[in-house]
Symmetry: C2
Subunit: 299 residues, 2 copies
């Protein structure tokens, strides 16, 4: 039986060590590095980097090799930058993130804007540096990884999703628009994480496509369970407040279809994700376990 | 005699057309694209892209070829993102930029943060896409260009410079600290612009090093003349207010060494820049003319 908790613990330790090194170049007294470190090393599920590494393993590559790890770190930097900026007073105006003060609370607003900018920039610097390091991956494949990650994070992906999320505060979304918003705001980068791992693991186009379908399903399942947790989760376990969606009149799956139907929908999405893995062998067991875990998670 | 104005007009038209295309993919009704376009297409000197293209030409490459132009556009996107974020209420809180309302004034603060993020991200997507397009440049050289541009824009370069510029509002800088701040805040990206052009133009390491020295000198000269213009420039010509440095107690060259010594210093820097070009032939005349133009500019 595959032990997901042990797998997650190992991958997270690898990721945290690599992220720590990425920020550790004689800059201990730098305020910008302190702010980047505050948000980047603040815990978190490391979902995107774990998915990237697991996808590399699923296609027969080395999940813990430095190639997949480099992409994994870049993806976490991009995710963290997006959280820092989303938390700003001009956006969600949040005080807590991952159980700690948000970046602009722990430092100041200007520093938080710049720390986000710096993490986004460092992600691409890290990717290019890893690519130059080679590790048996062709530069062409690395360039494709860089382009896909940038496209997923940009104004046709994550950033457009955030724009729609903000607009939804005043104009509620129907279910189709909610799904489109999520597929942009979080789905695009989750898919890019899995695709990047599959590419760097040496996957074929057929494998990359199958893993992309897996990622699209679990990405949405993750959002549905996020909405559910916001209704019934334990703030102490989640490290953030519950009930915030309702008080902000946010469009959510529980709000649009009720809690019971939301749970069924999440289960259906995870089943679809598992089906997309049908042609894969036991090397994709971590991806299977992650899909099931999304249904049961408490934070 | 080399006609700089005609050269600048031609390069700017090429850059503006390419930037316009980069934002033009069926997204006319997108608020984020409108905000990106507002700031990116708002005029501007296009100093970084012109330098990139001129450097490609100086080493015998094609200054107007699509390779140098792609890097030039990415550099302008990065420069523009930094202006959008610098103008935010939490930073300089500026209302006007390039003679138009700043992004957060024309749109709103959240949109301005995200438009900056999107331009930074698009810069790297564009670089990777151009690299995959080939154009006779090896993927390895493209990866080096991407890494150098990211490093220059990041927390060891431009972003650290902005942090120091903000800190200087409360703790005045001496001349050494002022020079260090400028070499980070603007010098790093200007050097990366020239270096990227030289690399993509097929320059040797010796040529890249010489052009790097040129760029470091004109980058600083540009800042010194910027400070001078803030004292004695014409707001109508500059498209932004004058006298703002003094009213904000900013550390400036005129403030630290007086106007006359500042002018001599700028002249000396430009002379050094021209010396760095000694080994180059007439193909570097645009770079020479740009160096001289920095002394005489009115905006």
């Amino acid at each position: 039986m595959f032990d997901l908790q042990a797998y997650l613990t190992d991958r997270r330790e690898e990721i945290d060590r690599a992220l720590d090194r990425a920020l550790d170049r004689g800059t201990e007294d730098s305020r910008i590095v302190a702010a980047m470190r505050h948000s980047l090393m603040g815990g978190g599920k490391r979902l995107r980097p774990v998915l990237c590494m697991a996808a590399a393993g699923a296609v027969g590559g080395n999940a813990s090799g430095k190639t997949a790890r480099a992409a994994a770190c870049a993806l976490e930097m991009i995710h963290t930058y997006s959280l820092i900026h989303d938390d700003l007073p001009a956006m969600d105006d949040d005080d807590l993130r991952r159980g700690k003060p948000t970046c602009h609370r722990a430092f100041d607003e200007a520093t938080a804007v710049l720390a986000g900018d710096a993490l986004l920039t460092l992600a691409f610097e890290s990717l290019a540096a890893a690519a130059m390091d080679g590790s048996g991956i062709s530069p062409d494949r690395w360039l494709r990884v860089i382009r896909e990650i940038a496209a997923a994070a940009g104004h046709h992906g994550m950033i457009e999703g955030q724009m729609r999320d903000i607009a939804a505060e005043t104009t509620p979304l129907d279910r189709e628009a909610l799904e489109a918003m999520h597929s942009l705001k979080t789905g695009a980068l989750i898919r890019a994480s899995v695709r990047a791992g599959a590419m760097l693991g040496g996957g074929t186009e057929t494998e990359i496509d199958a893993l992309d379908r897996y990622a699209a399903q679990i990405g949405l399942a993750f959002q549905v369970t996020d909405d559910i947790l916001n209704v019934e989760g334990d703030p102490a376990v989640m490290g953030k407040a519950a009930g915030t969606d309702a008080s902000r009149n946010k469009s959510t799956y529980p709000g649009l279809m009720g809690l019971t139907a939301s749970r069924s929908f999440a289960r259906k999405l995870v089943e679809n994700a598992l089906q997309a893995l049908d042609a894969f062998n036991a090397a994709s067991d971590p991806l299977r376990a992650i899909a099931r875990y999304i249904l049961d998670r408490k934070r």
